[in-house]
């Protein structure tokens, strides 16, 4: 497996002091631009009412309170569809979609990366081209396909398309190309292992960083998904959609809105922190030939 080389020191050569100062200054300014709004969200979530309406507005919270989270819970309990249902919907779709995508993408990626058969180059090229357009292009026409397949207004309308993403296949294939030596697979085949066994017991453990990355990317997309044009019924809608309804309830719900955002963002951020080094390792193989 290609291990990532982590550099100990960068100050080997050609580093001017002025350049260092300049780089750190830019990082500081841009870091503040990226970080302060995130921090402000967290601050808003813990502000009591009088601080939310204080003039002039204060950035930092003075007397942190959990009141906004309580308001949020109250709002949740008054909704027509029980809030636990929205959470279940998002969790159900996220988990099934992620598991499906990891399995199907890995299988297809293994086949394209490690086996020889006619047509595989063309099949991969189609996926590369599909990376170049955003899914908004396909969403409207897919409504027709979904209705023909009777998938509209079911969980499957969100799960099935999520099971085969071009990103999933692309990342898995690129990583397998560099990290799974063909010789290892060959010797396993000579020992009489079936292709499926070689894939599952030899190749898959070797590409752990890639499928961890795929889990994070896929989970984050499904977790953050808001309303979908394929779902009408309230009882199938997502957590993010329900939270959006609360926030749009007006400025008076600013605190509860911020509290809900904090809950929403904690999950993907935590998942990323845990898997960061694996993700970076995967992305290093994601390059595209020109």
């Amino acid at each position: 497996m290609a291990k990532l080389r982590i550099r100990k020191s960068n100050h080997a050569m050609n580093r001017s002091l002025g350049g260092d100062i300049g780089i750190n200054a830019v990082l500081l300014v841009m870091g503040a631009f990226m970080f302060l709004p995130m921090l402000y969200t967290v601050m808003q979530a813990f502000k009591p009412l009088d601080e939310l309406w204080h003039y002039p507005p204060r950035f930092f919270v003075q007397n942190p309170t959990l009141n906004n989270f309580k308001v949020l819970l109250n709002l949740m309990s008054t909704s027509w569809v029980p809030f636990s249902r929205y959470i279940f919907n998002t969790a159900f779709v996220s988990i099934l979609g992620t598991v499906g995508n990891v399995f199907l993408s890995s299988m297809a990626a293994y086949s394209i990366s490690k086996m020889k058969f006619p047509g595989k180059k063309a099949l991969f090229q189609v996926v590369v081209y599909s990376l170049m357009f955003h899914t908004t292009v396909t969403s409207i026409t897919n409504f027709w396909t979904m209705s023909k397949l009777q998938l509209v207004d079911t969980y499957w309308a969100r799960i099935i398309p999520a099971c085969a993403t071009s990103m999933g296949l692309y990342l898995m294939k690129q990583f397998m190309d560099t990290s799974v030596p063909t010789t290892v697979l060959e010797s396993a085949r000579l020992d009489g292992a079936s292709e499926i066994r070689v894939f599952w017991q030899i190749a898959m453990p070797m590409v752990k960083p890639a499928w961890l990355t795929l889990i994070v990317f896929c989970f984050k997309d499904l977790w953050n998904a808001g309303s979908s044009i394929y779902i009408y019924s309230e009882q199938f809608k997502s957590f993010n959609y329900a939270i959006g309804q609360i926030i749009t309830g007006g400025v008076s719900r600013q605190g509860a809105g911020a509290a809900s955002t904090v809950i929403m963002m904690m999950v993907p951020i935590l998942v990323f922190v845990i898997t960061q080094s694996n993700i970076i390792e995967t992305m290093s193989t994601s390059g595209m030939k020109d």
């Binding site: 006619p118 977790w223 600013q254 963002m265 951020i269």
Partner: protein, 316 residues
């Protein structure tokens, strides 16, 4: 006839068969390969490739999901480009928006990744998280509606009034002269995503010995190092990052709607994505919506092709 008897005596080789026979044999020998990729590709073709083909077909009809469609040839496109003033506005807005956020997010990702790479490993991991977090945190961009809120309780208005810069609050998210710059800033804020991570990774795998060799060859500073060694070395990552940045620059419709509502005041932030949703998602004019989708599709593919051409020149 003599040829046939000959083949019995030696193993079958490619020369004995036509191209098609050979292909067919190879396909049969590798059934497992097709079996493994079939589930993925069946779904992929149904929901990613088929809709593109269908869009082209639907765009030539007046299909509306209910009645039998009539064939219109290019009427939808003629209506789109000659009769639909809002679509013209949408094209203009999309081009302005995408041509700033696409290259903007790309350069921002690349430069920030490069600077972060100069830091020690531990700080590097923290900075990566700080820059990447806004793009994965769901609807966290809603915080900008608190910052740009139109009354004195909005963070920016309140602060500016307190400092005496302005005397009455500015309706940032309703004033057409502020909306476009603000949505572009917010879009850039959430845009350090996949391409940023790709660059972070790309910088870390550049072969260190190349730098030592380059120093001997007379590369004097880090700018030269970047241009002559690092960037050419990580060209594949740069290509992939470009594709990601451009594709997502066409996908910010949701953020615009969340910040300024739909439709935006005077359609000043109305993009092709909104127009598509309007006709496809709300009015079910599938034929017309498909024509919009086809135009959007070619804009995306076209800009990707253009950028890939340009990137081929890096380091030369």
């Amino acid at each position: 006839m003599s040829q046939k008897t000959e083949t019995v005596n030696r193993p079958v080789s490619r020369k004995d068969m036509t191209k098609w026979q050979w292909t067919w044999k190879e396909m049969k020998n590798n059934k497992t390969g097709y079996f493994l990729l079939a589930p993925f590709y069946i779904i992929f073709f149904t929901f990613t490739v088929l809709p593109v083909i269908l869009s082209v077909f639907f765009s030539l009809t007046d299909f509306n999901m209910l009645e039998t469609p009539n064939f219109l040839w290019f009427d939808n496109y003629i209506r789109l480009f000659l009769d639909d003033d809002i679509f013209m506005l949408a094209i203009k807005n999309t081009l302005v928006f995408a041509s700033i956020t696409g290259p903007g997010s790309y350069l921002l990702s690349l430069i920030m990744a490069w600077f972060i790479n100069e830091l020690p490993p531990k700080i590097r991991a923290i900075m990566t998280l700080i820059f990447y977090a806004p793009s994965i945190s769901g609807n966290v961009y809603m915080v900008w509606t608190y910052i740009f809120s139109a009354d004195s309780h909005g963070f920016l208005n309140g602060t500016l009034m307190d400092l005496g810069v302005i005397s009455t609050p500015i309706a940032f998210l309703k004033d057409t002269s502020y909306i476009m710059p603000i949505v572009i800033i917010v879009a850039l804020w959430t845009s350090l995503g996949t391409s940023f991570l790709t660059f972070i990774a790309g910088f870390q795998v550049v072969d260190r010995s190349l730098y030592e060799a380059a120093a001997v060859d007379g590369v004097k500073n880090r700018w030269q190092e970047l241009w002559y060694i690092t960037l050419p070395y990580m060209r594949p990552q740069m290509m992939f990052g470009a594709v990601m940045a451009i594709t997502s620059s066409f996908g910010f419709g949701g953020i615009i709607t969340a910040l300024v509502g739909y439709p935006s005041p005077d359609y000043c932030a109305h993009t092709i994505m909104h127009h598509l949703d309007d006709y496809g998602g709300s009015r079910f004019e599938m034929g017309y919506a498909s024509a919009i989708a086809v135009v959007l599709f070619f804009m995306m593919i076209g800009s990707n092709m253009l950028i890939r051409k340009l990137l081929g020149k890096v380091g030369k």
